[in-house]
């Protein structure tokens, strides 16, 4: 046991130290940043945070943008994936296997390579600089995984429940709404959170679709802050931006960790 706990500590240190270094830096004055390990008179400050929060546009704006995109992507994906997952769960053995294999293959694809064409589409259709429009490609990218996870969940439900529902007079949409989806809600929650995390994390498409500063999402905002000056040392401000950007995600991970882990686990097992 002792040996295990030792390794656990190493694991936790490895996982959290880089982040904690950012936290440490974010509260440091310029002086202490240049001397992180030695004694400095004026160590702590909130200036970095003030700088980032009062910039134009204010930092919370980026968090809001990411949240808007995240929620709309999740909603759209679940809306489209649910009927598709139902259709797959009811397919014959061979059809189902082929579809699942195809979906798996598509999900392996590094979506970064799609940026150019998607950029063109955005320009042609004029949907660049639109947060809600961003949820369309995000939906498509999350769709394979979502359909795979949800169709497994539907298949796990006892067959006679849906049959009893049909006899009770429920049509397809009523069955989905009252029986299938409530009973699959753990899987739906897991899938939703994974989609949400993906949208928050996505960079290349958000970068190329949105150029208006007011509308950029969090990763793009951070990249801008990072690219703004490669040679000076405003690392305090960088750090506080990093920390602020991470807070919502930390909450999500800690709060929803069960769902995230079960979603990924189920995906691994069934995939």
């Amino acid at each position: 046991m002792k040996k295990n706990n030792f390794f656990v500590l190493i694991l936790l240190f490895w996982s959290l130290a880089p982040f904690f270094w950012q936290v440490y830096t974010s509260f440091s004055t310029t002086e202490s940043i240049t001397n992180p390990f030695s004694y400095v008179q004026n160590r702590w400050t909130l200036d970095n945070y003030i700088q980032v929060l009062t910039a134009n546009p204010p930092f919370w704006r980026y968090l809001l943008n990411s949240t808007i995109v995240g929620l709309s992507s999740t909603g759209l994906t679940l809306l489209i994936a649910t009927p598709a997952a139902y259709a797959i769960s009811k397919s014959s053995f061979h059809v189902e296997r082929i579809l699942r294999l195809l979906l798996l293959a598509v999900s392996l694809f590094p979506y970064v390579l799609l940026f150019l064409s998607l950029l063109e589409i955005a320009r042609v259709l004029g949907i660049g600089n639109n947060l809600l429009a961003l949820s369309i490609p995000y939906s498509a990218l999350s769709m394979p995984l979502a359909v795979l996870l949800l169709s497994s969940a539907f298949k796990d439900l006892p067959k006679d429940l849906e049959e009893a529902a049909r006899i009770e007079g429920l049509n397809l949409w009523q069955r989905l709404r009252w029986i299938l989806m409530p009973l699959s809600s753990p899987a739906i929650a897991s899938t939703g959170i994974i989609i949400f995390l993906f949208s928050w994390n996505e960079y290349p498409i958000a970068l190329t679709w949105i150029s208006e500063v007011e509308l950029i999402t969090l990763p793009v905002a951070i990249a801008r802050i990072a690219g703004s000056s490669l040679y000076s040392v405003p690392y305090g401000a960088y750090a506080s931006a990093t920390v602020l950007g991470s807070i919502p995600l930390i909450f999500i991970v800690l709060f929803f960790q069960r769902q995230i882990i079960s979603g990924l686990t189920q995906g691994a097992i069934k995939g």
């Binding site: 046991m1 598509v106 590094p110 150019l116 490669l230 686990t265």
Partner: protein
């Protein structure tokens, strides 16, 4: 019934399929936007150019190097982490959640963080080496070492994800298998080879394939952490394609880069898959 599948299927086909078609067309037709995107077939000029493009092939080498080393380290570490998390430890749920943090944070955020960590002369790495009396490492400004830093950052971010998948795999192995093996007198290391690894195989293969494909497209990390430098030593194919499109405004060439990258990716993935499937037989040959 097929109607239900239509929106999802259509969306996937459009978003994944159209680009491929478009890229092919672009690579054979377009020239720089500056010359008003001429819709003239250019007789594969882009393709001739790319084959002789040193920067492309250098980037290809760097990307493949990045992907292979990253994924190898990640898989090995992930196995260890998964084995650890499979044990009885205090607050296992909390430990799992916390170790998942690197994966949950957006790449760009921690790319910036890592840039700071490796910063010369103020970053903690440099400071630690300085107190040990070793000279400034200049990791990020040295073309020979910068790419190593990117690998470290990538390993940090994605290992938890793989560990989780492997942990799921570990938990499907029934305890009785280990108990029976122990009764037969098998040692722990042996058990690992004979039971754990074979049963983890599908999970390992999936993880390797998935991560390799993703690593091939690495973009976020490189752009924010090093910008592709120093001297393009960390530049990836994804980044090169992006630069051609948005900085040099040559959509046609960018499309060509993407297509060739895709082709290389498929070949590489197939190789990895063959290797992974053969790994078993190689190992058996060695241990017998």
């Amino acid at each position: 019934m097929t109607l239900l599948f239509l929106p999802a299927g259509l969306l996937i086909i459009i978003v994944f399929g159209i680009p491929i078609v478009r890229y092919t067309w672009l690579s054979f037709h377009a020239s720089s936007v500056l010359t008003k995107l001429e819709v003239l077939p250019n007789n594969g000029a882009n393709w001739i150019r790319i084959l002789g493009d040193d920067r492309f092939w250098q980037d290809a080498y760097q990307t493949v190097r990045f992907a292979s080393i990253s994924v190898t380290i990640e898989i090995c570490l992930a196995i260890l982490i998964a084995l650890l998390l499979d044990q009885k430890i205090n607050n296992r749920g909390l430990v799992r959640a916390l170790s998942l943090l690197p994966w949950a944070l957006p790449t760009t955020i921690m790319a910036l963080g890592w840039r700071w960590i490796f910063n010369t002369p103020y970053g903690p790495i440099e400071k630690i080496f300085a107190t040990l009396g070793l000279g400034p490492l200049n990791i990020l400004s040295n073309p020979d070492t910068a790419w190593l830093a990117t690998i470290i950052a990538d390993v940090w971010k994605t290992t938890p994800f793989i560990a989780l998948i492997l942990l799921a795999g570990l938990q499907t192995i029934p305890n009785e298998l280990y108990e029976a093996f122990r009764l037969e007198g098998g040692g722990k290391l042996h058990a690992f080879q004979q039971i754990t690894l074979p049963m983890l195989k599908p999970y390992l293969i999936i993880s390797i394939l998935f991560r390799t494909a993703q690593a091939f497209g690495v973009f976020d990390l490189i752009q924010v952490m090093t910008g592709g430098g120093p001297a393009s030593s960390t530049e990836s194919l994804g980044l090169y394609a992006y630069l051609n499109a948005l900085r040099f405004l040559d959509f046609g060439y960018s499309a060509t880069i993407i297509l060739l990258t895709f082709i290389i990716l498929i070949i590489f993935t197939l190789l990895v898959w063959l290797l992974a499937s053969k790994a078993n037989s190689i190992r058996k040959a060695i241990t017998s």
